[in-house]
Assembly symmetry: C5
Homo-oligomer: 291 residues x 5
Amino acid sequence: MIVQRRYGLIQLFKETLPPLIILALWDLVVVILFQVYHQDWMEQPTLPISLMGSALALFLGIRNNAAYARWWEGRTLWGAITNNCRSFGREAASLLGGRPDLARAMAAYPHVLRAALRGEATGEDVARLLPDSMKAPVFSCTNAPNALLYHIGLGVRDEVVKHNIDGAVHGTVDRILSDIANAQGGLERIRNTPLPVQYSLLPEIATHLFCIVLPLSAVQTLGWITPLGSSIIGVLFQMLDRSGRDLQEPFNASVHALPMATMARTIERDLLQPIGEQPGAAFTVQRGVQP
Amino acid sequence: MIVQRRYGLIQLFKETLPPLIILALWDLVVVILFQVYHQDWMEQPTLPISLMGSALALFLGIRNNAAYARWWEGRTLWGAITNNCRSFGREAASLLGGRPDLARAMAAYPHVLRAALRGEATGEDVARLLPDSMKAPVFSCTNAPNALLYHIGLGVRDEVVKHNIDGAVHGTVDRILSDIANAQGGLERIRNTPLPVQYSLLPEIATHLFCIVLPLSAVQTLGWITPLGSSIIGVLFQMLDRSGRDLQEPFNASVHALPMATMARTIERDLLQPIGEQPGAAFTVQRGVQP
Amino acid sequence: MIVQRRYGLIQLFKETLPPLIILALWDLVVVILFQVYHQDWMEQPTLPISLMGSALALFLGIRNNAAYARWWEGRTLWGAITNNCRSFGREAASLLGGRPDLARAMAAYPHVLRAALRGEATGEDVARLLPDSMKAPVFSCTNAPNALLYHIGLGVRDEVVKHNIDGAVHGTVDRILSDIANAQGGLERIRNTPLPVQYSLLPEIATHLFCIVLPLSAVQTLGWITPLGSSIIGVLFQMLDRSGRDLQEPFNASVHALPMATMARTIERDLLQPIGEQPGAAFTVQRGVQP
Amino acid sequence: MIVQRRYGLIQLFKETLPPLIILALWDLVVVILFQVYHQDWMEQPTLPISLMGSALALFLGIRNNAAYARWWEGRTLWGAITNNCRSFGREAASLLGGRPDLARAMAAYPHVLRAALRGEATGEDVARLLPDSMKAPVFSCTNAPNALLYHIGLGVRDEVVKHNIDGAVHGTVDRILSDIANAQGGLERIRNTPLPVQYSLLPEIATHLFCIVLPLSAVQTLGWITPLGSSIIGVLFQMLDRSGRDLQEPFNASVHALPMATMARTIERDLLQPIGEQPGAAFTVQRGVQP
Amino acid sequence: MIVQRRYGLIQLFKETLPPLIILALWDLVVVILFQVYHQDWMEQPTLPISLMGSALALFLGIRNNAAYARWWEGRTLWGAITNNCRSFGREAASLLGGRPDLARAMAAYPHVLRAALRGEATGEDVARLLPDSMKAPVFSCTNAPNALLYHIGLGVRDEVVKHNIDGAVHGTVDRILSDIANAQGGLERIRNTPLPVQYSLLPEIATHLFCIVLPLSAVQTLGWITPLGSSIIGVLFQMLDRSGRDLQEPFNASVHALPMATMARTIERDLLQPIGEQPGAAFTVQRGVQP
């Protein structure tokens, strides 16, 4: 995710340039054909383009709101994982009375989860944090993060049986595991369920169509400055469409994706520091992008 | 649900073609009547069509937002069922200490539920997973998924009584069953409560009306290119209306429906793999559609 | 609630006819006065009507969204009552170990509640289901559904004391009663708190005003076809206003109201069938309307 | 809160009259200056006023949605207090086994809370309901409703210690107190946090500005009927602005405020009737306004 | 946060002045160039500016809604911290039976949290309230507020072990700590996750662009009064853009930020007064701004 204003500007400029050039070229073609060869059939009155603009605004409004809601829900669910992992760490100490191995396994959880969401292999962080006894049973399951919660649950049970801990305390700790499972399921829901094709493809197609028709409709009144007027408006709608597309898949490998590596490290840090252990080195912001 | 961009394009093309042809034919009729026979009464000024566009945009905006919200709430409730079934699996092991038969009965639950939501008979998956002792009492009730939760609840009670398990632990497991009941009730609510007729029928009627009036209003200024300008705008509004209608019933047997078979299999897998059993074969995406 | 498309069309036609006739008559008066007597002062330019349309769209947009949200929240709260009544039935068996009388009392609850929401007397269903010992204390209270929950709570306490049931189990069952109380309070909130007068009256007044001004503004350009153009637009805005008014009071005795009788019967069925008892006969859809 | 349609109409008329008169006077000044003295500089073309209308619609749309959301959240939070006070009453009987003094103290709570939200002194209702032993410690704290919950909590503890009640039961009752604390905090949040000045002041200023410019822009085309056209539109936007301002402070002493006295009496009634006591007399609707 | 209407007006005036001056100067340049030198190429027809206005309204609508939602969610999460800290105070007395040191540590928590959210050092309030034994372990962790919750959790455990308190009671108290952790995580989420660059930068750029083009488009029809018409509209859109930017970072050191110092003091007061201790002096509103 881009977190620095300066790099945001650069990135937006980079993304805006190609459509701007294509639009300007097309506008130029239209204006030359019209001004030089006086192609009268090109003239289009105002009405259709403004009705088309209304339909486009409806499409883009609904889609971009939905895309932003997906992105922010994704971020909120990662926040729920952060909060509940921290609470699990506190409860491992205050309710179960210790078990740093379970806190460490929980510190591995967000790293396992982010690898699963990206469809990548788990890396060095998981190897370091996950207790060896859990590695085989967790990775033998298709859904590794879910299996990890299952085995943390078994670890809690061992502790409960060994020290004869009260059932209500056991239930309280297990509630945290259920809350983490709920957040994980929500993240998988966002990843596995793309926006309906109507909402992901139609705005894009309609925006392109709009940008093609726009100079045809404007050339009669704008004349030689058509490329200026038409390109500015075209680029604004292209950027609106693009903003929605950037946000609708918040876990993709893109500069606009949620900073899952950073969030996983934060969870690890907040679980390990209170039990006196050192987390891995923090990820740094590179070229304005938080990994 | 369509999950591949290429098939989405094909599907949208297929859906767009019929209204596009009808619209173009109507536009052609209008333009020929006007240009050839100079039917002056056809001329309509700009104002009415743009006010009509405003009313239509209000209708479509409210309806499509409501339809998308229904679709996404349906998906979120299936997500809640996924999460709580997984948590039940974990708790069957960590709180109750075993009982793979209950995990298996819970793996049958989403298959029973999806059959009930579609009004279909349950299939081979339920026959394989549901313990025989539960089959008769469950299917003697009108609401089979609810009866299944009831009998899983009785199974939990047996375990609690047999091993003298703490009441708080029993309460924690039962909370998960209540959460599943809440999600099931939400899904039934969406299926049993269609959008109010005003919001499902009026936008459709208004869109058709708009498309009929549109060329009459545009023919005077657009002349022979009316079919082009008018059809593009008409198709955009038709697709907006259709997007809403596609999403408002997320459990129908349609390519736009939620992939309930796939979700049920995922739940089954995440319940069976940790107890060392094999789930049924995954459903495959066919022609871009996830069943 | 109308659940069949065909009857929805008929109902919408019936509702649309009176305003359509009045609008067309008014349009006719305007067009005749203008065309025959050339009342020039009638001419109004485009601007005011389109600014008026903007204000109207804002009013209708906010009001209709609020009305739909009230209707859907009402339905969702009835769904919460459904879910929690079912869960109470399960818990009466699995946590308390029986007490079909309490399940029956709970089956009477939605019937008591729907009568209270409509301000009607309770009927034969309540007489059949509610244990005789509860009838006097429940109906001596102004808020009968709340008193019924209170006495079900006392019934649960009896069972807990008699069989020395664990406090955590008691707490779990009581949580369900609190959740039902929350949903009941939400339904009463919607019934007792009408939309603010600004949002219920102003859109209606503004819509009528708009329909009066509309032909005055259109007659100059539309001429003899004013009644056609103006009536179509007027009816669209009237229907938008009416959709909002239909939905804003979801418990009124109207064809657009929520199907509370059907929902109460469903709850009764799902509580009685698992304990082997027969619910009352299902309500049937009559002339497209679910009671 | 106004609950009768007739008085709502009267109230709206009263509120609409002053701005309507001022607007009509200003429109009259403009039209006379223009028609009589032919002040040409007054002519303004259409574009600016319609762009100004767009900016105004954005402001009013965002602000009125936020104001309605505040009002409805305020009502929902009072609903949460209603529900949880009722549940506390039930639990005092079913979980704690009596203690009508605590039910009475809880019946005093909404009266204490509504006085605190309005910044008024508590009245006769609190004096009647609150046990004498709690009066001094509660009113010595700045936040009296919070202190009352604190002391009800201590009363619950006494009962728990005296009858050796299970910890889980104690936790269940305390959960209700926490839910009430959450709702109280939400109400204080709405009262203490006004809408940002941008959203409360700017729409008002922009609306006034718009109404000043409107006749200047319309007089050229509307001529002598400017006051009619311009005033209708001006009043619609003024009423939109006013609707937002009326709702944004739902606890003020105004006819549009939430009926806190009535709600407090309802809670009192539902707590006292099941334990066989009589609540105070119900507040009556006076001149269409529920106190 | 500004809480007085008069200072709000002054602040808005201060913020509006610079863009107003710049806009008026630019408008003046345009009008002089046009009127004096008759630069014909400056003429722009209506269409492009109104389409540009549509794109801008979409951008500003989506962004300002998102910014307001962030601000209000921030306030709601601080409200959740308030409520749960109060409930912890009540539970420290009613469930744990005392421990004023824990109530005092909890009173220090909001002060630690607001320092962390602003990236500032903790001040005198924390030094006074936080028990000395907790200072070293809390501030050795990167996330001090989380570490403080951890150590309050350990303090609760001590009490539970010492007085052999029931596990369910322990679980109830711990649930409050988890709820505080959830709210803290939500606040960190808002601080650490800026709005996507598309939504924070593009509306700003588009607004500036719009204000540059606006007089070019209006000068032909408005003539010498262009600066008046164009500046008013330009300033409205600039203020809309600015409102969004002011709200999107609710924890910054700005007059529009949430009053975190005041909220922290309120929490401190409501925790200390019931145990008979005096909180620090209330922060006063200075020049209309609540700190």
